[in-house]
């Protein structure tokens, strides 16, 4: 093909001093003006601003520009802006090309080398843009339903927001009940609202909402499709109880052949016991019991008297033969609200968790002081005594080179809350060992002052170790008090480890399932840390709550609302425009070798035997270009990434 000639305009952004402080933009503009085809070259302080865009639009009209090259930031940030500006001026948006001279140049290089690199990149872009052709956006309708994964406070809030706006919502939760971590807490900081009192009405609202389909004890196992049209497979695990028939009377639990609960109770962190047939906690939603086949005698031996069946009677809700089912749903958007995992305190051996019985995690203490907890709200040690002194160790598994480097954001505040509650309930002396006291939130610092005035002791120092006293068996916390400048050893009856927040153990598998990215720590990666905090790089998939990073309940709820709004905005658009970067076949060149057919991961390529050529289904093609690279006769091509365009870039950067 002969190289097309076009009237090209080049626009170089200063980005304040972000680019112009490093790259000689005047020299770059002069250089651009000498490139073949360039009719006009300009530089401007902020190209993305309205006056900057107007500059481009005016030139398109005045100089009859046929191509536009903008040298500025990453196309991931402003490609859409400049394409839209071109479109508004009557130029096909795909005749605009961006050159990244900020992220890839001025922010990482300096001196003449930075300007030289900008010249090479700009030359490449000017050469490639001549080959750009006008393209039409593809448009597909958006399904008016949303999948919310995870039924903690984030998922609950997002689901309710969407459902109240009239959207169909599927809420999928892998545990037998929704509620997440928040349901385990006693009070919430800094207002000391009872967590259950503010959460359970929302949980019930989810169950009762006509627009929400709630699937607990269920997991997403497959995701296909793309924004506007996801096909999701959900595995509904058998709970051996038919959800529609169970009325939540709990008589079966009473009737179980195990007279006393004797199995590890997950919801109470093992501090309480449950039976093989159980409900996680009294306010669980749905109010449907679960049978644990690992401990149920009927499942283990088949020789149980099945007194639960008898108790259920005519309701016939118990079904030992229940099988898992796979449901397939179609949704337009997905919100991930899969939450966090509390740090495993036994990973830090010198704090003695799992070794000394009176070393607890904060989550265990939440259950102990919760009125619905294993001790009915009595804060007692494992031997039943009330603690007279309690030490709270901050930053366990946070801000630590050996475990996790990040600050978990909530531990200072929940430690203050626990200090207050412990003092209120037991009158014990409470010692907080902290590195820094971090209380940046509305009414947080005031709460800290209040707790300090209540007589809680604060010792600035990281606890070195916890060990039992030889005399009375109390636990000694040893730490360097960095304000006093000396080592202190404080004996206490109870140690509470303020464990930090970690990504879920299976975060990597989950992100692969949904084709999104993780930060190196394992938190799901947002599209932009400031301007797109609930979006991901996969269109139509949004984030809410701690799966994106540690945060408290107010921030989680705010983020869940934002994710719901983003999903709603998407759904209300009605249709989505897709990048037209699909592959297509030049039938007259295609030899019918079928190399491409097996390469396509989306089965978008079919073979037409009557014509002996391959054919690309544009609706299925996602535009990766793998088939294009493999075609031996160069008969498959890709819009926006034509061979000529890439060759021109290669030649351009090396000229």
């Amino acid at each position: 093909m002969t190289k097309p000639s076009a009237r090209i305009g080049v626009y170089i952004c200063h980005c304040g001093t972000n680019i112009a402080g490093t790259i000689n933009v005047a020299a770059l503009r002069e250089f651009a003006a000498t490139l073949p085809g360039v009719i006009v070259a300009r530089d401007y302080k902020y190209m993305c601003s309205d006056p900057g865009q107007e500059l481009i639009k005016a030139d398109i009209a005045q100089h009859g520009l046929e191509r536009v090259v903008v040298a500025a930031c990453s196309p991931h940030l402003h490609e859409h802006t400049f394409r839209t500006a071109c479109e508004e001026a009557g130029l096909n948006p795909y005749l605009c090309h961006m050159v990244n001279i900020r992220e890839h140049d001025s922010w990482v290089h300096s001196g003449e080398a930075a300007t030289a690199k900008a010249r090479d990149l700009l030359r490449a872009a000017v050469q490639r843009v001549a080959w750009n052709r006008p393209l039409e956006r593809r448009s597909i309708p958006i399904r008016q339903s949303v999948l919310v994964v995870g039924g903690g406070i984030a998922g609950i809030h997002a689901a309710l927001t969407l459902a109240n706006a009239g959207k169909k919502v599927y809420l999928v939760e892998r545990e037998p009940t929704i509620g997440g971590h928040m349901a385990m807490f006693d009070k919430t900081f800094p207002t000391l609202d009872c967590a259950a009192c503010i959460l359970t009405p929302k949980m019930t609202a989810v169950k009762d909402h006509p627009n929400i389909t709630l699937w607990t004890y269920s997991e997403v196992i497959g995701v296909e499709g793309f924004v506007g049209d996801f096909k999701v497979r959900v595995r509904r695990k058998p709970r051996y109880v038919i959800e529609d028939l169970c009325v939540g009377c709990l008589e079966c639990i009473e009737a179980c052949v195990y007279k006393q609960p004797k199995f590890y109770d997950e919801f109470n962190q093992g501090l309480g016991k449950r039976k093989p047939i159980y409900i996680p906690f009294p306010q669980a939603v749905p109010q449907v019991v679960v049978i644990d086949p690992e401990t149920c005698i009927e499942f283990k031996s088949g020789k149980c008297k099945k007194t639960c069946l008898e108790a259920c009677g005519e309701r016939q809700a118990i079904d030992f033969g229940q099988q898992e089912t796979i449901e397939t749903i179609e949704v337009g958007a997905i919100i991930l609200a899969t939450g966090y995992k509390a740090f495993d305190a036994s990973r830090i051996p010198y704090y003695g968790y799992g070794v000394y019985p009176n070393v607890y995690t904060a989550l265990e203490v939440e259950r102990l002081i919760n009125a619905a907890g294993p001790t009915g709200g009595e804060l007692v040690l494992r031997d039943g005594r009330k603690p007279r002194s309690v030490g709270i160790v901050h930053c366990v598994g946070s801000r630590d080179e050996h475990t996790n480097r990040w600050c978990s954001r909530v531990c200072c505040m929940y430690s203050l809350k626990l200090a207050h509650l412990v003092k209120e309930r037991t009158g014990a002396e409470v010692y907080n060992f902290y590195i820094d006291m971090r209380t940046p939130g509305k009414a947080f610092e005031e709460f800290y002052n209040r707790v300090a005035e209540e007589g809680v002791h604060f010792i600035r120092g990281k606890v070195a170790d916890v060990y039992p006293a030889e005399t009375d068996g109390r636990l000694i916390l040893r730490a360097e008090d960095t304000l006093l400048g000396q080592v202190r050893k404080i004996p206490v009856d109870m140690v509470i480890l303020a464990t930090g927040l970690e990504p879920q153990a299976d975060a990597t598998e989950v992100r692969r399932l949904f084709n999104i990215s993780c930060s190196s720590e394992g938190w799901f990666l947002e599209r932009h840390p400031k301007l797109a905090p609930v979006n991901t790089f996969t269109d139509g998939i949004f984030l809410a709550g701690c799966c994106q990073g540690p945060k408290d309940i107010p921030d989680t709820v705010a983020q869940a609302g934002a994710a719901a709004a983003e999903a709603m905005q998407l759904l209300d658009t009605g249709s989505i425009e897709l990048e037209p970067n699909t592959a297509y076949v030049l039938e007259e060149v295609c030899s019918g070798c079928k190399t491409c057919v097996g390469l396509c991961p989306y089965n978008a390529i079919s073979f037409l035997p009557e014509k002996n050529v391959a054919q690309v289904n544009e609706a299925l093609c996602k535009g990766c270009g793998t088939c294009v690279a493999a075609c031996p006769s160069a008969s498959i091509r890709q819009h926006l990434f034509e061979d000529e365009q890439i060759f021109e870039e290669v030649v351009g950067v090396l000229a």
Binding site: S74, P75, H76, N100, R102, E103, H104, D105, W107, V108, H109, S110, A113, A114, A116, K117, D120, L121, A124, R512, N515, S517, C518, S519, S520, L525, F537, T538, N581, L599, P601, Y602, K622, G623, C624, G625, T626, V628, A629, A630, Q638, F641, D643, I646, F647, E649, V650, V651, V653, L654, A655
Partner: protein, 159 residues
Amino acid sequence: MPEATAPVGQNQTAAFEPKIVAFFCNWCTYLAADLAGTSRLRYAPNVRVVRVMCSGRVDPQFVLEAFAQGADGVLIGGCHPNDCHYQEGNYKALRRYHLLRRMLEQMGVEPERFRLEWISASEGERLRQVVNEMVEQVRALGPFRKSEQFEPAEEAVAR
């Protein structure tokens, strides 16, 4: 000319700035380079990035063309195994890479000049390391000089 084939001396390598063409996928490695930028991680300015949607789009001809046009090295960056935005384009890139690498070696191209790396969107630091390392390796090798064996391929690329 005898100078052209003579080994490159110490003095010459000190002044030599290699040119490396990089093909980065839109979803992982290009974003890693964006992240390196927002994190202000300084690295060698010798790499020129060509954005493709997927590392699977990198036609071996692009690599040959880059060497033919005077690149001293070619770097391909894609998503980690299992992480490809397009499910498996990176595996296709890997297959072609191994084949092309052998071919280039037979043509006398040192293996250090052609590299495939998996760099995810969150690995700005890794991007910096890979670029710096490759620039140093290629700098040590000296400028790329096409051997005679390369010419038939170059003609084929030129068509």
